[in-house]
């Protein structure tokens, strides 16, 4: 059990489980669909990490046949996509070049870093989902800047979460020893904290009249 990866996964699982319960309870309290969807996203990512950690603990190896954890993490990002789409007010369907380039960059980085394992299909699916999240969030940030209204912290944090997720996989390619604390775990812990912070940002939006 002297493996830092297990402690890191346990930290992520516990943090996200707490956030899932808090977010779900707040969603019911404020009758907010956004908070319920956020709870679903936390739940999915938490379950994926929990499966990965249990597999590592019980079987002693990572899952190698079907990407079960990756399916769950992917589900988490689908919930995030649902959430950002739910928040976005769709006006005119025009493609904005800068956010589109950012989205394409996200897709390319996801496939290059093999974000969801060796399967190109899974990495492409993640890239498309994460790219859509980055596109909508950056469109909202740009619109806020152009109209002079304060930008929503959630949009910026959502882009940061996607970048950190890709960075986790990118860094993992260059690290072979996961038994001690290193840069990979520093980024992963930062990623977990960023995920948790999304709750307060959404709750602030929900509580505003």
């Amino acid at each position: 059990m002297d493996n830092f990866e297990i402690y890191d996964n346990a930290f992520q699982t516990l943090s996200l489980m707490v956030m899932m319960i808090v977010s779900g309870a707040a969603g019911l309290k404020y009758s907010s669909r956004k908070l319920v969807v956020l709870a679903c996203a936390y739940g999915s990512i938490m379950l994926g990490t929990l499966f990965y950690m249990l597999h590592l603990t019980i079987i002693g190896d990572i899952p190698r046949i079907f990407y079960v954890s990756e399916i769950s993490w992917m589900a988490g990002y689908l919930f995030f996509l649902f959430l950002v789409t739910l928040r976005h007010e769709w006006k005119k369907a025009t493609l904005q070049p800068v956010p589109a380039m950012l989205a394409l960059g996200t897709v390319a980085a996801s496939v290059h870093s093999e974000v969801m394992g060796n399967s190109v299909l899974m990495s492409l699916a993640f890239g498309a989902t994460a790219g859509a999240i980055v596109y909508i969030s950056s469109v909202r940030l740009r619109c806020a800047r152009l109209s002079g209204t304060p930008a929503a912290a959630f949009d910026g944090m959502m882009i940061a979460v996607v970048i950190l997720q890709i960075l986790v996989y990118f860094v993992s390619e260059y690290i072979s020893d996961f038994s001690t604390f290193n840069l990979y775990f520093a980024i992963d812990i930062l990623f977990t904290i960023s995920l948790c912070s999304l709750f307060w940002m959404i709750r602030r939006e929900v509580r505003q009249p």
């Binding site: 669909r33 319920v36 679903c40 996203a41 739940g43 999915s44 994926g48 589900a75 689908l78 919930f79």
Partner: protein
């Protein structure tokens, strides 16, 4: 050799015959129950195909292959029902539960055919936990599609998301029950505890009048 198709016919024929005599919701849920049992049989074939394809043992298949195949196949009849018959949101969750109950029932029949029915206590625990896990997944899918993700094309994102969550939830259960000792005990306990939790919430929620925006 177990002729599971024959067992399926024996169980489903009386239920299918009853469809001639009952009407309305009873007919619908009985049919969905039979479909759930049929899906269980089909998923056994699909699981076996992937087992041979990837050359894996039963434990690996139960942990990594079965949850994916079973949850995807269980969603197919429900999606057909939703897309073709366009039911009211309140009808979706019972339909999802019916498919899940049919699936869990036939899964228990398969287990009995393979391992016998000698150990009552173990079969009771296994029956409750396996039933609970499928019903929990049914509730999650049904409630998610009916109430949370029911906004036009956005529903696709939510439905695929909830499917992914159910797959890993099911995989965690399979992983725990195939392990030994305390892990197995946790595996058998947690679905029943969650079902009780949901039952408690169901009693509580109408009192606090929850309506999503």
């Amino acid at each position: 050799m177990t002729y599971i198709e024959n067992v399926f016919i024996c169980i489903s024929v009386p239920l299918l015959l009853s469809l001639l005599l009952v009407k309305g919701a009873q007919r619908k849920y009985t049919l969905l129950l039979c479909i759930g049992m049929g899906i269980c049989m089909v998923s056994a074939y699909v699981n076996s195909y992937f087992m041979v394809l990837y050359q894996v043992d039963g434990v690996t298949a139960a942990i990594e292959i079965s949850p994916v195949c079973e949850e995807i196949l269980k969603l197919v009849p429900l999606l057909f029902y939703i897309l073709i018959f366009e039911p009211e949101p309140k009808e979706i969750t019972p339909a999802a539960i019916s498919v899940a109950v049919g699936f869990a029932t036939f899964e228990n029949v398969c287990y009995l055919s393979e391992n016998g029915a000698g150990n009552f206590t173990f079969l009771l625990i296994r029956g409750m936990s396996a039933g609970a896990i499928h019903i929990l997944c049914g509730i999650a899918v049904g409630y998610g599609i009916a109430y949370v993700f029911r906004q036009r094309w956005l529903a696709v994102t939510g439905t695929v998301g909830i499917l992914g969550a159910c797959i890993v939830f099911h995989a965690i259960y399979n992983l725990l029950v195939t392990a030994e000792g305390v892990w197995r005990t946790i595996g058998y306990m947690f679905p029943s505890v969650l079902i009780l939790g949901i039952f408690g919430l169901r009693l509580l929620l109408p009192k606090i009048h929850i309506r999503l925006e």
